[in-house]
């Protein structure tokens, strides 16, 4: 059984991979006329999109119809978010094409463009749009919130804190607190952030499902990083009760369960959700942990997904690819390279975690220095990262005979 490999994307790789894909794939002429070749996605979102058919027609007549384009684009973006299907982002971009390359498009288009750019991790381009929007209209709540989120992902915490503060009066107070809790939780105020948010949430029992899912998910993550696992689990479950299809929540809870060694529950949690690459990763990790017979097949599927992304030059899933490379392909040096690449784009605790795990597995001193500097500068508290780093330390000071330590999982 050969270990699957996760490849780094390169244009030259297109040749090798397309060759491999078309060599392994075998074009054929079906024998049976009733053979089903493709099942089209039929979701609630699609029904909604069918209702928007008149808008589609209006846009076909006049592609410059701003109202129709913006409404349709918004619908596509929402459907893409709920299904996790990136094709909808492409449809939204096409609908906005008359304005897409403008340096300063109309505000309604600019905010959608910023959201779409953020989705594919083009953070600086997204921020450029958001900054321009906010210069014209500082009270644009969605722009402020998106901006605050991006700044947090980029690890620019001072600016993120200011952005959260700027939300006051523009959005419900709960949103402001959740925003600030996210920033505080990553900068040495983990427990106070949790307490403040939990208290505020308790005072708003009738929040809508979306808000509940977001706030409870944030509380769950804060609790997990603090090592309060029972509390974290309660919040995860409640968050998923509010929004069972939230891809982000599902992934975070799956990671929580994997850390606790509860792989079987990951399988039931994510059953039938293998279409999204991120969730397939968790399924593959669970199968690998259980040493299930299907582990290789799942890891192979995952490799095919990363290959497909590499072929088109997408680097959106670097964090997942690094995890796949470290834990499934068991190639710590390649994983470290991917984790470092990812770190240049995203600096969330999860990104530091995979970096720490890869640094521990390779015992790379320079990567360790990067991690130590970050933790010292920001005061990040995360029990998972501490555990991963501890295994590095003991690995470097231990005798060679005990150097087979792996990062805790």
């Amino acid at each position: 059984m050969t270990a699957p490999r996760c490849l780094k994307p390169l244009v030259m790789g297109v040749v090798a991979i397309v060759s491999a894909a078309t060599a392994v794939a075998a074009p054929r002429i079906p024998v049976d006329g009733s053979e089903v070749l493709e099942r089209l996605p039929v979701t609630v979102g699609d029904r909604r999109l069918r209702e928007l058919a008149p808008l589609r027609a209006a846009l076909n007549r006049d592609p410059n119809d701003l109202r129709a384009a913006v409404t349709l684009a918004r619908a596509y973006i929402d459907t893409g978010r709920t299904t996790g299907d990136p094709r909808y982002a492409g449809y939204a971009e096409a609908v906005l094409s008359p304005w897409w390359t403008m340096p300063a498009p109309p505000a309604e288009v600019a905010i959608l463009r910023a959201v779409l750019l953020q989705r594919v991790h083009r953070f600086d381009a997204s921020l450029a749009d958001l900054d321009r929007l906010l210069a014209e209209n500082p009270r644009n709540g969605q722009a402020q919130l998106t901006r605050a989120t991006i700044l947090q992902v980029q690890g620019r915490f001072d600016e993120a804190r200011q952005a959260c503060a700027a939300l006051r009066g523009l959005v419900p107070a709960m949103y402001v607190l959740a925003c600030e809790a996210g920033v505080d939780g990553a900068t040495g105020r983990l427990q106070p952030a949790f307490d403040a948010l939990a208290a505020a949430f308790a005072r708003v029992p009738d929040a809508d499902a979306g808000t509940r899912a977001w706030v409870l998910g944030t509380l769950a993550e804060l609790a997990e990083r603090a090592g309060r696992f029972t509390v974290a689990e309660t919040h995860f479950r409640n968050a998923l009760a509010a929004d069972p299809d939230d891809q982000y929540l599902l992934a975070a809870y799956a990671d929580f369960l994997l850390d606790r060694g509860r792989s079987r529950e990951v399988m039931s949690l994510l059953a039938g959700r293998g279409r999204a690459d991120g969730l397939l990763l968790r399924l593959a990790l669970a199968a690998d942990a259980m040493k299930s017979g299907d582990a290789t097949a799942l890891a192979g599927q995952l490799r095919a997904r990363f290959d497909a992304a590499a072929m088109r030059g997408d680097r959106v899933h670097l964090r997942e690819e690094a995890r796949c490379t470290l834990h499934l392909a068991r190639d710590p040096h390649a994983a470290l390279a991917l984790a470092l690449d990812n770190w240049t784009v995203q600096k969330e605790p999860a990104d530091l975690l995979i970096l720490a795990e890869a640094a521990a597995a390779t015992r790379d001193a320079s990567a360790r220095a990067v991690i130590d500097a970050w933790v010292a500068r920001t005061g990040l508290e995360d029990i998972r990262i501490t555990a991963a780093l501890r295994s590095t330390k003991s690995a470097t000071t231990a005798h060679p005979s005990s150097a087979s330590l792996r990062s805790t999982r």
């Binding site: 078309t22 054929r28 493709e38 099942r39 996790g84 059953a271 799942l298």
Partner: protein, 372 residues
């Protein structure tokens, strides 16, 4: 519990189709003036663009797809252009198949673009789905004589130019050597001429008859003289003809070659030129060179490296010749004392060759055909 896990896993495996952005896959292969293309287009994308699900049941069947093949072909061909050195290469769909990639079923179109001449560079224009999906990409692989190249088409990059490298100089040289060897081996008239001159090399002319020669060294030198004279002569005229310095009508040349074979063969029976056969080899070799030149003209010399190709072709001819001589000489030396050689091969054989060559002469001079 393991059973439950297995069932859950099988659910995962059944829903193996992934969520990914839209791609199409292009595999191009160039051969002379032909460009063959295999284009994999996602059924989901085609449905979004032109509608495939005739009965609106959410499933696309082979029957439904087949019903739209003409429309799919028209749609696709309108969105892919191939041009060679500035001239558009008209393209047509030849075959429809299906296949699967990580995100589901794909229609596979096999197309052929025919250019007016083998292009030095291909300009490929791609505009599939950009009006519907701003993130769609065309992932292409182009295979040509110089190797394989990849290209990615996106809304921002709808055209790419691929330089089709000519085959390397060394492989080209090898090709022409091969052609040279081949053309002397299939050139029976040249071989028969050469053999006619070499047959007596292992014999010695006495007053009225032929006797086996006594010195291998002498025979060897004779062979060397004849072959060298032939080689030098045909190389001269081959070069002159290849560079169009001297041109002779091919009918004349072919007839003259046949005549040379007749004369060389008859000379063995009634020796007119007994000891200076090398002169005969030289004189008639000049004519044979024009014969090789016409073959080379059919092959064509590459523009940038005419001399090298000519040299390679000539080397090939010499190598082919050498092989024949090396095979002939020991055998002839061994048999030279036998009646079989002196009467049968030498005399009767020469007469047969003369007869054959005479027939060729008539065919070529008068443009008739009876031997074929």
């Amino acid at each position: 519990m393991r059973v439950l896990v297995a069932i859950l896993l099988s659910l995962v495996c059944q829903l193996a189709a992934a969520h990914k952005p839209s791609d199409s896959y292009l595999a191009l292969e160039t051969r002379d003036a032909i460009v063959d293309v295999q284009w994999d287009i996602a059924l989901r994308d085609l449905d979004f663009a032109i509608g495939l699900d005739a009965d609106q049941d959410g499933a696309i069947t082979w029957d439904e797809l087949r019903a739209r093949h003409a429309d799919i072909a028209a749609y696709a061909v309108a969105r892919l252009t191939v041009a060679g050195d500035g001239d558009a290469c008209p393209m047509a769909v030849r075959e429809h198949l299906v296949d699967e990639h990580t995100d589901g079923g794909y229609a596979v179109l096999r197309l052929r673009a025919t250019c007016s001449a083998p292009p030095a560079a291909l300009r490929i224009g791609y505009r599939l789905f950009f009006d519907l999906d701003g993130q769609h990409k065309g992932l292409a692989r182009i295979a040509h004589a110089g190797g394989t190249q990849g290209a990615i088409f996106s809304a921002d990059h709808r055209e790419q130019v691929i330089q089709l490298a000519s085959p390397g100089a060394w492989s080209q040289f090898r090709d022409y050597v091969r052609h040279g060897v081949w053309h002397i081996w299939i050139g029976f008239d040249h071989i028969l001429f050469l053999l006619s001159l070499l047959l007596p090399a292992v014999l010695v002319r006495t007053t009225q008859t032929w006797a086996p020669a006594s010195s291998f060294r002498v025979s060897g030198i004779e062979v060397l003289r004849v072959v060298t004279a032939f080689t030098v002569a045909h190389s001269i005229t081959l070069t002159l003809a290849a560079f169009d310095t001297v041109t002779l009508p091919s009918r004349l040349v072919e007839a003259a070659i046949a005549a040379s074979v007749v004369l060389a063969a008859l000379n063995n029976v009634w020796p007119v030129i007994a000891t200076q056969r090398w002169a005969m080899a030289f004189a008639f070799g000049l004519i044979h060179g024009f014969g090789f030149a016409s073959v080379l003209a059919d092959l064509g010399l590459p523009d940038g490296s005419r001399l090298a190709a000519l040299l390679a072709f000539n080397v090939g001819v010499e190598l082919g010749q050498l092989a024949i001589v090396v095979a002939f000489l020991p055998l002839a030396w061994w048999l030279r004392g036998r009646w079989v050689y002196r009467r049968l091969v030498f005399v009767a054989g020469s007469m047969a060759v003369a007869a054959l060559a005479a027939a060729w002469f008539v065919e070529r001079a008068f443009d008739v055909r009876f031997i074929g």
